[in-house]
Amino acid sequence: MLKVDNLIAGYGKVQVLHGISLTVADGALVTLIGSNGAGKTTTLRALSGMIAPSQGTVLLGQQGAGDPSSALENITGLPAHQITRRGVAHSPEGRRVFATLPVEDNLLLGAFPRLSGARPRGEPAADLERMYDLFPRLRERRRQLAGTLSGGEQQMLAMARALMLNPAVLMLDEPSMGLAPKLVSEVFAIIARLKERKITMLLVEQFAAAALEVADFGYVLENGRISASGPADKLRNDPAVQAAYLGAAH
């Protein structure tokens, strides 16, 4: 699980997040919605160590760890590779696949902490097969360079690469961005399947309606602050949320 308390972060002197608190429970799919510039991507970047938060705490619990209260570890301000090695996988904005490496190398790099002994090894080869089952297009293109994939395929690759960590928490930044409508529903179908497998997820999305449809719990981010939160179906029926983010007429 992920427990974030009063997180403050930004870039240089520009503060973007003004105290974010949120919880992602084990096995839950939590979504963070909000308009452009609200701080969704910055939140994920601060959680995964791509930027260092200036205040607040981030606690991480390993999924399935026996005693939930003792298992929380403070990961605030650790560098990105340390946070990843503790089990936070971040599929970043813009996909950031390694363009001149083959698809399969991209996936293996997702498992780097497991292959280098920084995280329990498990069965990387079997997981690779599982990823190809989940994303059949990637199996077809396993030897192709990642940069030659279509946008949708690159998104699949970025998600699969993050999953190769066997993450305690999977963070997805706008997996639907720039995709054709048909691919968007495909991406959400895969997110629903990951949810069935009880993978703990924090999903950042602009397609608020689709995100709240699939999520258990939602947070609404506005100008770097949480303006509303609650079970996803409650948020979906909240008139204020509907007016602002769900494109409702009234």
Partner: protein
């Protein structure tokens, strides 16, 4: 015609030495966008440490060839350590403070310090390095070639191929490539990219040290041997492109051959000029290098 062939053949082996050193420039540029301007001094230190080691081993009664073979791993490990020191003292601090030119000054300064150190340990004179192979030239038709020149060619290519295989096949090599492609994304893979940069400096100096003991038996060894080689290899890295593996091989050969031709047909006094002219030409026409895709700095 025979003379031309002879000049080309011996140009190739010198060119391969430039190529290996230039390859070292590429290694650090790929991961950190910085270069070790003390690369020539890394070569010199490798050669001198190699000289002391091989003389010690020969004194115990070994043949020169066996002593050379046993000396190699020691020199390679020394090169790795020396590169890591350069990164730690010179580059890391500059990168942390986001200093644009700090690493340039720092690596040049370290190079000068290393040269001074070497002058105090080994003296200023050039020393003879025992050749592990017979010094009598072989005849290939009309062309005469020293066995050591063939060893240089094979050793240089072997090193570059080994690094390439490491990068493609091992997960740690892939981590190096990932860091070169996208440092932030590599961090998200759990890769300690700072350690990768230290490693690439270590590997870079190791390549230079290796080049040092390859070239030492056919030249002389001394604290001053590195400066010109480092500069010429820099020209090769620019000519071949800082991102192209075979660019440094071809670039090195071009420079080695051009030098020989100039030395013979014009004057040995102008030997170094054409390579540097080529460097200026490439910088003004195709700054990414003949085979490269990354310009040193886009302005």
């Amino acid at each position: 015609m025979d003379i031309l062939a002879q000049l080309i053949v011996s140009g190739i082996s010198v060119g391969m030495v430039y190529g290996v050193i230039a390859f070292g420039y590429q290694l650090t540029f790929a991961t950190s966008k910085t270069l070790n301007f003390g690369q020539g001094e890394a070569l010199m230190l490798g050669a001198l440490v190699g000289l002391t080691t091989i003389n010690f081993l020969i004194a115990t009664g070994m043949s020169t060839l066996v002593a050379f073979a046993l000396m190699l791993p020691i020199v390679l490990i020394f090169g790795l350590a020396q590169g890591a020191v350069v990164e730690f003292l010179g580059v890391r601090q500059a990168m942390r403070t986001k200093s644009e030119a700090g690493w340039i000054m720092a690596t040049i300064a370290l190079g000068i310090i290393f040269k001074n150190l070497a002058e105090n340990i080994w003296g200023r004179d050039a020393l003879r390095f025992p050749s592990p192979l017979p010094e009598q030239a072989l005849s290939l038709g009309a062309v005469r070639i020293q066995p050591m020149e063939i060893a240089i060619l094979l050793g240089a290519l072997g090193l570059m191929v080994a690094v390439e295989i490491f990068n493609r096949k091992s997960i740690y090599g892939k981590a190096v490539v990932a860091t070169a492609l996208d440092r932030d994304a590599a961090g998200l893979m759990g890769i300690d990219t700072r350690l990768v940069i230290t490693f690439s400096y270590a590997l870079s100096s190791m390549s230079a040290a290796f080049a040092g003991v390859l070239v030492a038996p056919i030249t002389l060894t001394g604290p001053a041997m590195g400066g010109a080689l480092g500069l010429k290899a820099f020209a090769v890295a620019i000519i071949g492109g800082l991102s192209s593996g075979y660019g440094v091989v071809v670039g090195g050969m071009i420079l080695g051959i051009t030098e020989n031709l100039t030395g013979y047909y014009i004057s040995t006094g102008y030997k170094d000029v054409p390579g540097l002219l080529l460097l200026l030409l490439v910088l003004s026409i195709k700054p990414a290098g003949l085979f490269g895709s990354t310009a040193i700095k886009k302005v």
